[in-house]
Each structure stands twice: as structure tokens, then as C-alpha cells.
């Protein structure tokens, strides 16, 4: 084995246009051949300790501080766990539908932001396009209609969150056992007014993602791709359900590894491995072991794992998607974009369905039952399955919290994608251009990772790319 001290080192830090911050390190030998490529997650540790000792009813609010990007997902997952703590197994129809509306609003805005403002520059201009145009401002200049759509779709989803959670920051809508407000007629009508437009734009975005994938299939198919297992929640009847369901895991050919597992028993099926070079853990399916049990989560996994989607347009889109791989799971990394836009269309279809449901104006909001010492809440966050697990003592204090966030589940797949792209596109090249380095980031962006929020205050976090030779000398540096 070659000593890594003899290798050149390329560092991309932090990865741009992903949520949070990450660093890619690529080790090259003297012939510029890639010997090792790794994604390091710059994760702030300590949240699970922070919440210990706090009253359980604060958890759905406190956990939003964990991440400024997907606070609603944490809010709802914690609330689902706390439902069980207060002895409530099934919410009132109004409470469940308000939470679902909040969740689909989150899904809609998050996927829209990712597609229009983070991913589309790569798809519209190419991975090698000059960095000066390969960004959201470039999209705004050349495709202002798309840039505006991205802004307005994101805003629509955010307004739904505000109406259901109370506000954008410190949302309090979901509480243990239910919700603290319903949706007024005025709020409902405000959202219905724009829903046709949102649906139309979602169809358009889906078409862009689908056409891009099919028209570039030859190039897209091998790009950062590999066979993998897939994990997601599915409904009792096998339908996609982003808010609630049972766990299903399938292998790369679509065979079920386990199915309809009550997620209260997740520890019997999923465990995590620590590796000395990364702060972030590596989850895997216990029965398959760490070598073969890693899996993907998120839009690609969900579309692959479900039997059908219960809204008509998204289901038609799913069938088209699955036809590309003859009904077998699609294992292409770049197919995440297409799957994500199927879910965007599904989300707006569900939002319409919910807005037309009079239960949203119901007044039966909260239930109570017998206190329990433990609760586990799972949901499908925009980036994948999110696990929240809490234990509470007799004084109502949280004494244990365990979270598995989507990006942790995708840790191994993202590392494999980085390795594959580095081997295929960088290895042996005499000159490592910015465009080549962007190939690495394109693969990571497909997963839409949330690399945990660091403080974002003014003056922090520039992008630094460093090339360091085997003696530790910096031979090139790029920063923006």
C-alpha cells in the first residue's frame, strides 16, 4: 500500500451550492492518478447533548435550531416522536392534515430551491461551463423565467410553512399530540389562488429534468453511478408516503431486504459505523453488514422503493421514470434530479388535495394519552429518511436523543460518487481545471446534501480549493 504522504492532495472546501459545508480531499500520485477521494462532512457535533435535560415539549421547537435549511423536517419528526411520549398513536384528522400540509410545503420549497437555483446551472450550462455563468445569476440572465419560477415556488412553500407552523423561525405549529392551529378559509383561498400556476411550473421543471436525463443518458448513466440498496418509508399499501409509513429496503435489483417494518423497531434493522477519518457516521442495514448494507435515501430511493404514487400526474411520471430501467430500480446518481421533480409535482398535487379538504378548518387539534418513556419519529425529509429517537424521564426531561439525518444515510453513497467521478474524470489528467473539479461537486449536489449548519455570520466560510504536493507545499489555490 502506498504511503499517502507521498501523494498530491487536492482539497475542495467547502463544496459550493450544497446545504451546509463540506470538504473534498483527493489524493493524487506523481502521475496525477487518483489514489483516494473522500468527502468530509464538516459537522457541528453536540446537538444531542444540547437537548438533554430540556422538557420534552420543547423538543419540536428546539430541534429546528439544528439546521436552518430543513427546520420543518426536524420540527415534525420530533413532534411525531413526542406524540408517542404523550401516549398518542393517531392524531385527529385536522392535526394530521395540517402537519402533512406543512410537510408538503417544505418538500415543495426545498426541492424547488435545489433544482432551480443549485442544480440547474450545471444542467443548463454544462459541468465545464465557465464558472462566471454556471451559477444562479447565470440562470437569471439567460433563463429569467426559470429563475423567477424558482423564487416564487420557494416562496409559495415557505408561506405554507408560515401559515401552518406559525412563523418561519421558531415554528410552533406541531406540538406533542397534535397542532396548535388550523388553516383559516382566508389562508386556504390565498394558496388555492396560485396553485394552478405552481402546478404548471412543477410540470415544466419535471420536463426539464426528464428531458435532460433522457437526452444525455449516455453521459449521465455512468456519472458517479453505482448499484446500491435503497431505503424509504412506504404506506401500508406500498404507496409513496412522505410523512408517515413503514420502512422498506430494497436491493439494486428491486428485491426486498425488509418491508413494512414498524419504525419503532428501527434499531433491529439499522445501525451505524464510525470511521476514523470522518466525524459523520455511516449507517447500514444490520443483516447485510457494513460492507454491503449501506443504502441510499432521498428522492431516488423513494421513487425506486414505492409501488406507486397516489397522485395521478406524479404516478404517470413515476411510470415513465421506471420504464427507463425496465421497472428495476434506477441506480443513476444524476437521476436524483428527475426523481426530485416527480416528488415536487407530487407535493403540489397533495397540497391541492389537502387545501380542498374541509378537515383543515377543523377545531379538534390535540389529543392526550398515557405518558410513555420513549418515542421514535420518522418521516421522509426532502433529502431522505429522518430518524428522531428520544427517551424522557419521570420529570419530563429528555435524557437521550439519537438522530440519523438523511445526509448521514447518504454518506457512503456520496463518498462512492466522489470516488467514481474522481477516477473517471480527474485521474491521470495533466491539468486539473475548475470544470473538472466541478464534476465532483455535481455528483455531490445530486444528493442535495445538508451538511449541517455552521454559523453563517458575516465574514465566514469562503470557498477554498487547494492543491498540495506530496511534501505539503501548496501548488495551487482557488478561492471565491
Amino acid at each position: 500500500m502506498q504511503d499517502t504522504n507521498d501523494l498530491k492532495r487536492i482539497v475542495i472546501e467547502p463544496v459550493t451550492r450544497v446545504e451546509g459545508h463540506g470538504k473534498v480531499t483527493i489524493l493524487l500520485d506523481e502521475q496525477n492518478r487518483v489514489k483516494q477521494a473522500r468527502l468530509h462532512i464538516v459537522e457541528f457535533r453536540g446537538f444531542e447533548r444540547f437537548i438533554q435535560g430540556r422538557p420534552y415539549w420543547e423538543a419540536p421547537v428546539l430541534v429546528q435550531r439544528l439546521c436552518g435549511i430543513c427546520p420543518v423536517s426536524h420540527h415534525l419528526a420530533a413532534a411525531k416522536a413526542m406524540d408517542l411520549i404523550v401516549g398518542v398513536d393517531k392524531l385527529t384528522p385536522t392535526a394530521e392534515k395540517i402537519r402533512r400540509l406543512m410537510h408538503y410545503g417544505q418538500m415543495f420549497q426545498s426541492h424547488s430551491l435545489h433544482f432551480f437555483h443549485l442544480a440547474s446551472p450545471d444542467l443548463l450550462f454544462g459541468f465545464d461551463a465557465p464558472v462566471a455563468i454556471r451559477n444562479v445569476i447565470g440562470v437569471a440572465a439567460k433563463h429569467p423565467d426559470l429563475a423567477v419560477q424558482g423564487v416564487m415556488m420557494r416562496k409559495y412553500g415557505q408561506e405554507i410553512i408560515k401559515a401552518t407552523a406559525g412563523k418561519k423561525i421558531h415554528g410552533t405549529g406541531a406540538i406533542p399530540g397534535g397542532v396548535n392551529k388550523n388553516l383559516s378559509i382566508a389562508e386556504r383561498d390565498m394558496f388555492l389562488k396560485d396553485i394552478d400556476q405552481m402546478t404548471e411550473w412543477s410540470r415544466g421543471a419535471l420536463k426539464i429534468a426528464k428531458d435532460y436525463t433522457i437526452e444525455n443518458l449516455e453521459a449521465v448513466a455512468p456519472f458517479g453511478s453505482f448499484d446500491s440498496n435503497h431505503l424509504s418509508l412506504v404506506r401500508d399499501d406500498g404507496a409513496m408516503d412522505l410523512y408517515h409509513g413503514n420502512l422498506r429496503a430494497i436491493d439494486a435489483q428491486g428485491n426486498k431486504i425488509f418491508d413494512q417494518v414498524d419504525y419503532q423497531n428501527y434499531l433491529e434493522y439499522i445501525t451505524e459505523e464510525v470511521r476514523d477519518w470522518s466525524y459523520m457516521k455511516f449507517p447500514f442495514i444490520k443483516s447485510l453488514g457494513p460492507e454491503n448494507g449501506w443504502y441510499r435515501v432521498g428522492p431516488l430511493a423513494r421513487v425506486n422503493a414505492c409501488d406507486f404514487i397516489d397522485t395521478p400526474e406524479a404516478e404517470a411520471a413515476r411510470k415513465e421514470f421506471m420504464a427507463v430501467t425496465d421497472g428495476k430500480p434506477n441506480n443513476l446518481t444524476m437521476a436524483y434530479h428527475w426523481a426530485r421533480m416527480i416528488e415536487t409535482l407530487h407535493s403540489i398535487e397533495k397540497i391541492r388535495e389537502l387545501l380542498e379538504d374541509p378537515d383543515l378548518q377543523g377545531s379538534d387539534l390535540v389529543l392526550k394519552g398515557d405518558r410513555r418513556p420513549e418515542g421514535i419519529g420518522l418521516l421522509e425529509a426532502p433529502r431522505g429518511t429522518l430518524f428522531h429517537h428520544y427517551k424522557v424521564n419521570e420529570d419530563d426531561q429528555v435524557v437521550m436523543a439519537n438522530l440519523i439525518v438523511s445526509t448521514t444515510s447518504n454518506n457512503e453513497p456520496m463518498n462512492r460518487a466522489v470516488s467514481k467521478v474522481a477516477m473517471d474524470h480527474i485521474s491521470g489528467k495533466a491539468e486539473i481545471t475548475e470544470g473538472l473539479l466541478n464534476h465532483i461537486e455535481v455528483a455531490i449536489r445530486a444528493y442535495d446534501p445538508c451538511l449541517s449548519c455552521a454559523t453563517h455570520a458575516l465574514g465566514k466560510m469562503p470557498l477554498v480549493v487547494r492543491l498540495v504536493d506530496h511534501e505539503g507545499n501548496e501548488v495551487a489555490k482557488k478561492s471565491t
Binding site: 451550492r17 450544497v18 430551491l113 423561525i169
Partner: protein
């Protein structure tokens, strides 16, 4: 305050990360003022949809914690900037202003109010004592500029 002039104050940051919560803390106080013509918003960070809100106002003040800016706060006019790199995690005010101009033909004037913080690297919902003092001074300053926005373009002499 001239109510015909529309002013948006966005306080942003993560209140669960100590002094990173300075922006939202300022917004929380400003919201209680209930001033006509003033819209107050708070969020964990600036994101692209804020561009349409920026465009809907005459003046925007982005209030954020500052890691190494002047004490107790600084005010700085925002010039639109085409960002070469872009992260949705931290859309800079300058990029947001550029987006507002490009996408929504905004004529908005924008300013950053950077309130100096000191502790950022732990979870915790509290401001450090020095940051809390800086916040009080920033609040007094915002009251002044809301009464007379011309002060925004004048040198700051913090008390």
C-alpha cells in the same frame, strides 16, 4: 416614520447558536414596535425567495451577527454583486439585491447592519454579555434610522 416609504428589516441567523441569534433578536424587538410602513422578518438565513420581498420595498436592512466587524455594530450600503459561487445556505445581501434587480426590476436601497458577536461555536440560546450590549446599541440606532432613514447614509457614531 414616513409611512409612504416601505422599509423591510430582515434579522437573520440561528438563535440556537449563541451570538448568531443577534439578527433575529433585533427583529423580535422591532416587531413589537408595530410601525406603519415597516415590515419585519426573521429567518435562519437569507434565501432566494427573499429577493421578491426585497423588491417590494424601498429600503431593506439586513441585520446579521458579525464575526469580526466593528463594535458595537456597523452599517454598510449594499452594492449588488454577481456572485461567482452561490450557496443557498448563505445568500449574501449583495447577491440578493442583484437578484431583486435582475428578476424583479427592484429599485430598492439596501443596507447591512452587522452587529458584532463573539461566541458562535456552541449550541445554546443565549447571547454573550458583550453581544447583548451591542444589541441594545443597535436597537437604539435602528429606532433612529426608522424615524429618519437619511441617517443610513451618514457616518455611524455609536454611543
Amino acid at each position: 416614520m414616513d409611512s409612504a416609504r416601505r422599509i423591510l428589516l430582515i434579522g437573520y441567523g440561528n438563535p440556537g447558536r449563541l451570538d448568531d441569534g443577534l439578527g433575529p433578536a433585533l427583529a423580535a424587538v422591532a416587531e413589537t414596535w408595530q410601525m406603519e410602513g415597516l415590515t419585519v422578518d426573521a429567518d435562519y438565513q437569507l434565501t432566494v425567495e427573499d429577493a421578491s420581498d426585497v423588491a417590494a420595498n424601498d429600503i431593506v436592512i439586513f441585520a446579521d451577527a458579525s464575526v469580526n466587524g466593528a463594535e458595537p455594530y456597523f452599517i454598510e450600503k449594499v452594492e449588488p454583486k454577481e456572485a461567482l459561487s452561490f450557496s443557498s445556505h448563505s445568500v449574501e445581501p449583495s447577491v440578493l439585491l442583484h437578484m431583486a434587480q435582475t428578476l424583479f426590476q427592484a429599485k430598492t436601497r439596501a443596507y447591512i447592519l452587522g452587529i458584532r458577536g463573539y461566541d458562535f461555536n456552541e449550541f445554546g440560546e443565549r447571547l454573550s454579555p458583550r453581544a447583548a450590549e451591542n444589541l441594545e446599541k443597535a436597537i437604539a440606532y435602528v429606532r433612529l434610522i426608522l424615524d429618519d432613514p437619511r441617517l443610513l447614509d451618514m457616518p455611524v457614531e455609536p454611543n
